[in-house]
Symmetry: C2
Subunit: 338 residues, 2 copies
């Protein structure tokens, strides 16, 4: 490994001078010396050691991307088209700005926290973080953070919170289903803590506004692994007989379900209408193509990096709570009835 000292020795200079050239502080070095140093750096293709730099500057140029996930979902996490797209967008933007990303996934938030601290990351992007976990992170990690899809409570709003207008998205989707004559709607959600809770609220509101009421039994919580489990899928299939429409909180669930159901003779949308959320690649390639709520995942990722790097450079973000617009995308998975 070639170091600044190597370069300095070869040139008969001090490390300071070489360092100054590297950092473009050329006002303090003669033109001639600058040229000599630059030539040698080029020749030996000098690359600084980030660890060393990180030690002195107390900044690592690393952006941490943390998402809590259950053990049984580890491998599927990044593979999930939604996360993949988001991560890809974040990665591209971070790299374009000369930073690096480090991905942390674990089911224990403390493990994530330990990793973040051990690397001394300059800023953190938290994806889908729940309240209790966020509080833990906040108590130990004092640098800038951006939350994505995290619905943190108001009192922690000193951190940028990027998400969708989830309530509106769900409201519009439900309204659309109602307009198409559906009233027996099952709502399939991940859990009732984060984003999906807000979506459910939007759904409820739309139902009420149209004179319908929601019942607890119509809310189906998808536990991890259920979509890959024959028995769970079967259960949902049996429930489907009571409904004319399934409203899912993600394209992934909708698509997996459509797949299973149509394999078992349920015709979509003739027997059952189906909607998703996100507008992934998947929703476009299935048949019937999925009626869903579009969000701009790339924009989400890009924006979060922009805001975070801004905060790292100590500029106040233009907004603390960003709600990106959603758009109803009508395709072929919903049938008009009645």
């Amino acid at each position: 490994m070639v170091t600044i000292k190597n370069m300095a020795d070869m040139l008969g200079l001090s490390t300071t001078t070489v360092s100054n050239v590297i950092h473009g502080k050329t006002s303090e070095v003669s033109q001639k010396t600058v040229a000599r140093v630059e030539k040698l750096l080029e020749e030996y293709d000098y690359v600084p050691n980030i660890s060393a730099r990180s030690l002195t500057q107390n900044c690592s140029r690393i952006i941490g991307v943390a998402m809590k996930c259950r053990k049984d979902k580890y491998e599927n996490m990044i593979a999930d088209p939604f996360f993949g797209e988001l991560l890809g967008a974040i990665e591209a933007e971070v790299r374009a700005r000369g930073y690096y990303i480090m991905i942390y996934t674990a089911d224990d938030i403390r493990e994530i926290l330990r990793n973040v601290l051990t690397w001394n990351v300059d800023g953190l992007i938290l994806i889908g973080m729940l309240h209790d976990d966020f509080v833990q992170v906040k108590s130990r990690y004092k640098k800038p953070m951006v939350l994505i899809d995290s619905y943190a409570p108001r009192e922690v709003m000193k951190y940028v919170n990027i998400g969708l207008d989830d309530e509106r998205g769900a409201y519009e989707m439900t309204s659309y289903l109602l307009e198409q004559g559906h009233t027996a709607i099952a709502f399939l959600a991940d859990n009732m803590e984060g984003v999906d809770y807000v979506r459910y609220k939007g759904h409820q509101k739309a139902m009420e506004d149209h004179g319908q009421r929601t019942q607890e039994k119509d809310l189906i919580i998808i536990r991890p692994g259920m979509m890959e489990q024959e028995s769970s899928l079967r259960e949902i299939w049996e429930m489907s007989k009571d409904y004319t429409a399934f409203m899912c909180c993600s394209d992934y669930y909708a698509v997996m379900l459509m797949n299973y159901l149509s394999d078992h003779g349920v015709r979509i949308p003739e027997d059952l209408s189906m909607t998703g959320f996100d507008d992934n690649l998947m929703s476009r390639i299935v048949r019937p193509a999925l009626t869903t709520v579009r969000q701009d995942v790339t924009q989400k990722g890009k924006l979060s990096v922009e805001y975070l790097l801004g905060m790292i450079q100590e500029t106040e973000p233009p907004e603390w709570n960003v709600r990106l617009p959603v758009e109803l995308v009508i395709r072929g998975s919903v049938r008009k009835i009645g």
Copy 2:
């Protein structure tokens, strides 16, 4: 940030003693002191600074994952289900073994190399690397490397090379198509340098073994971005009239194409049969479900980490050239003709 020195000062000990406790070298420290130190470490939730450790030990516990990709594919790279799954598997395995991963993507291999060197990564996983680029990496990076889907030439076989039995996969698929009566087969590939070249060879061999011959015009090279471009898709659509089957080197291409073609009135498989490669989630959810060649991407990722970490710990890998098995998966996208 709490450091070893902080801890030592609070206890009236030297940093060495604290460091020894941290590293479990308790034979050199009295029981009583060990207990005192451990209590304080726990209390303050001490986390080592990896940068500092990396400096002294000359190892970073980072595994670099590098893939070259063109500028116009940046954001789609990780989002691609194949890469997502692979990356997810690698990430899970690396984390389970106490290492970290850093992802490097760029269109210029020198930029990747610079990043790898700057972080002093302990080992490198190169995905889909072409020969010339690999030579460049090899000339500057001297630590263990594992190649995935890279078809490096024999002389560099000191590095573990993990891939599929691509030739066999393509051979079997072509044989199947021939058995179903197809002879007018177009072969859609990414380029003729890496994996796809070997697949094409397998295709050719099968054709020849069955008394058919391949012509240059039947080989369609998919340039980046083509699958997202109306004009290119239209071109391919027009070509489709000359064939009874399209054999694609990835599920992604097959699915995107199926999508476009069926939107334009081409019935699959009635008018055109279609096959993929990989057996992604996508291939299962499209209709008709895609006939494809299955590979175990998770196994691929896991194995590459296993081998790499083995090499880092200086054990010779059991194999230098790993060809994972492939399996023909027959679904509904190929029609029997004649």
